[in-house]
Symmetry: C2
Subunit: 463 residues, 2 copies
């Protein structure tokens, strides 16, 4: 029996029918050139026959009904693999739309707390000789970035390799204290930040109050502060049902735009998110007058750091959704992000940690008497850009075409947009609340069109 | 706003992650002779375009989070049809096994209490030019038999008819007081019986105590009494995951056996259930020494009834699973069922009602401090045989090949076997708890073999 660390256990506390705390990863593969229908059949058979369970796929809660009092893991020695590994199919025509609908449903289904908290779905029937793999895990076991890394560990850069095993046999590295100087994931840093000061849940409550008051006291007009974004359709209570949509671009297109406009790749990403949200909200007559803000993970070097170490923290970027012109908006976003990053870089390490801990607030607010969705939003949504594998990867000869993160939501945070780079691609996953975001797939379509708009404007202006 | 009747609301009270109180119905259709792949595509389009919601498909809970305090329905005027109607597909080879796995998963998923409590799944990819329709509803809205009737109302005996509408547009008849003499469903009678005496939940608690004591005081050796069955693998706490398996026979085969052995069709059904359970439990080394008992709905005429009215009640049949010989067991089951029915027929109407109410006990026990699964079982499982449509029915030209009930479980009742007759067929649905009944599909295979065993024995003896 291994007690669960308090901040990992927090994901169990805030898990409800409305806010299942599960993160997912969707990978799309194409069949190897000469493979027939037997390829998937054999893969399914191989998966079904693989009964080695690596960390953390072998863990279950010691006392599921008392997980609030005694959060602890134990090894499950009788895992019902047929429950966790599921062979599914798409109805015709088996396009991106049908895949999005299925992933939305699978990601909405609650997990069974009596079993190891993961599912792996092999999905056939995707058009153009493709298939998909969708992994779902509870956030108390792994974070979204950890999930993407786990997927990458399972794959190989060698298209002729045929000995690759299913994710549960490969597993993840156990969480260990990080060596000095190594870059941690944003969420881990946030959790560590909270943990350092607080240790216990009552402590979290106290700190949350302090940080909240601090944020409201400050009135720096140029800087997008927490809790200063407008209320929007994205910031009410969420229901238990999710929507999921995807979009992928060539990374070169994004880089070219960034270069032509003299901004960063991340600024371009923020702008296409801003453009699509502006259009979407305008259509449903819900565009706030004040600009939306986004919480964005960034890497900074603390002011008092003499070595080469970086810290991962968050900035709040002003998405400038009140500006109609794409290029003008892109530059305003760039200025806001630069300003926020500059502010952050002047802080000593300890303050960065305190500040970073603030970004756990939407989840903590939920933990503390259901404040989430009632407070003014700390920021309107999270937009995050995660570096992924830079080489093309294969699974038993099947080329991975795209990979997407499927995220979790909290009350007050009904939309999450996370991008992951992969072998020259920029893959974006939109995870939203079904009720707050009707026809959410339009967001992904509009994001695609926003990129083309920028290219048109910059092409005309710059050449 | 319509307050929910206390005993309908009881299904909301006992609904937990482990015991979702949803009933289902699975119908398998074959495509019309000349139909191509466009047939299902057009059907899906027609379903998606049908936004008339008949009773009870238009109802949602007034206050989902406070359903225990204020159980009431209201009309939902903004139904999100894409949530309720789902187009799904089976992976290859698309056989009975893949269908059973998908139904097991769908029937295990919890419903969203913020929406009307139903789902309708159109499932493609079933081999031999077939497709399936799976309906799921909360038991507070409809019982299993009501669900089967609703399905039948949607269909037509005319294979050329093309104007049939999806189930939610057809709906069910609203529950009304039944005219004198009309036969009610067993469950409705049970509910009415409890309701007549008790009205309120505290009353149910009191009555449950009385009935329980009464049952323990009686010691009639020949009669299979409540709470005298052995503990078995079917009678512990259940988990939230279900298994579903099916089996279908020609009704003529069952009738021939019944005639040759001079027993009823229901006796033959009980015997094939007994035979398969005996074999299944023996294989997992869990066959109790004492015979298993089954709660079986039957129709009886009360001793004090001067008119033509029948009452539906339950008998407890001794399944004689300690007897190895099939024919000997069949006769012993027949004797037990006759004895129980005879006992019941001597009771006046009021006593039958009291007795019938007892069969709500597994659910009531669960309601009252989680007793279910700890008490000695009232009976080991429910075996029920429901009359269905006697003519072949069609849906927009697609012939319904089989229809199956998908049942609910309670703690202490990890297996339910329900048969429905349909156009010369006897269709049996096995609904079990995933954890209590590993490899449950063997039960359905063994039931099929048990029927052949009886034919062999009776053929040899009788001709």
């Amino acid at each position: 029996m291994t007690p669960i660390k308090p901040l990992d256990a927090a994901w169990l506390y805030v898990d409800t029918r409305e806010t299942p705390m599960q993160v997912g990863c969707l990978a799309i593969f194409s069949l190897p050139p000469k493979a027939g229908p037997q390829f998937l059949k054999k893969l399914v058979e191989k998966f079904r026959a693989t009964r080695d369970f690596a960390y953390p796929f072998n863990l279950r809660l010691t006392a599921p009904r008392f997980r609030f009092l005694l959060p602890a893991w134990e090894e499950d020695r009788q895992i019902d693999l047929e429950y966790h590994f599921r062979h599914s199919a798409l109805p015709l025509p088996g396009g991106e739309r049908e895949l999005g609908v299925l992933i939305s449903r699978l990601h909405s289904n609650a997990m069974d707390f009596n079993r190891p908290l993961w599912e792996c779905h092999l999905i056939e029937g995707l058009e153009d000789r493709r298939f998909a793999l969708y992994m779902k895990m509870h956030h108390s076991l792994v974070d979204g970035i950890g999930g993407m890394r786990m997927l990458a560990r399972m794959l190989s850069p060698d298209p002729t390799s045929r000995d690759q095993r299913p994710p549960w046999a490969v597993g993840a590295r156990a969480r260990k204290p990080r060596p000095e100087g190594e870059v941690a994931t944003p969420l881990q840093t946030a959790i560590d930040g909270v943990r350092t000061q607080l240790k216990t849940v009552p402590g979290v409550a106290r700190a949350f109050g302090d940080i909240f008051k601090e944020a409201l006291r400050q009135e720096d007009k140029d800087w997008a502060l927490p809790f200063t974004g407008p209320r929007s359709a994205f910031n009410g209570k969420v229901s238990g049902q999710r929507r999921f949509a995807t979009q992928h671009y060539s990374l070169d297109r994004v880089k070219k735009i960034a270069k032509a406009a003299n901004v960063t790749v991340n600024d371009v990403f923020l702008e296409i998110c801003a453009a699509s949200m502006r259009r979407y909200l305008d259509e449903i007559k819900a565009l706030p007058d004040k600009p939306l803000t986004a919480g964005v993970p960034v890497s900074v070097r603390p002011a008092d750091d003499q070595g080469a170490g970086n810290a991962i923290s968050f900035i709040i970027a002003n998405l400038n959704t009140h500006i109609a012109d794409p290029l003008q908006r892109l530059h305003a976003i760039h200025d806001s992000a630069q300003r926020a990053k500059h502010h952050l870089q002047q802080l000593p390490k300890a303050d960065i940690d305190n500040y970073t801990a603030l970004f756990m607030a939407p989840f903590m607010a939920q933990l503390l008497s259901g404040l989430g969705g009632h407070l003014r939003p700390m920021f309107n949504l999270t937009v995050s850009n995660v570096p992924g594998p830079d080489r093309v990867l294969y699974f038993n000869g099947a080329k991975m075409e795209q990979m997407y993160p499927v995220s979790l939501l909290a009350h007050g945070q009904a939309l999450n947009i996370t991008a992951v780079s992969y072998a020259g691609q920029f893959n974006v996953g939109f995870t939203g609340c079904r009720d707050a975001l009707p026809s959410m797939q339009r967001l992904s379509v509009y994001a695609g069109e926003a990129l083309a708009d920028l290219e048109r404007q910059l092409g005309g202006d710059g050449e």
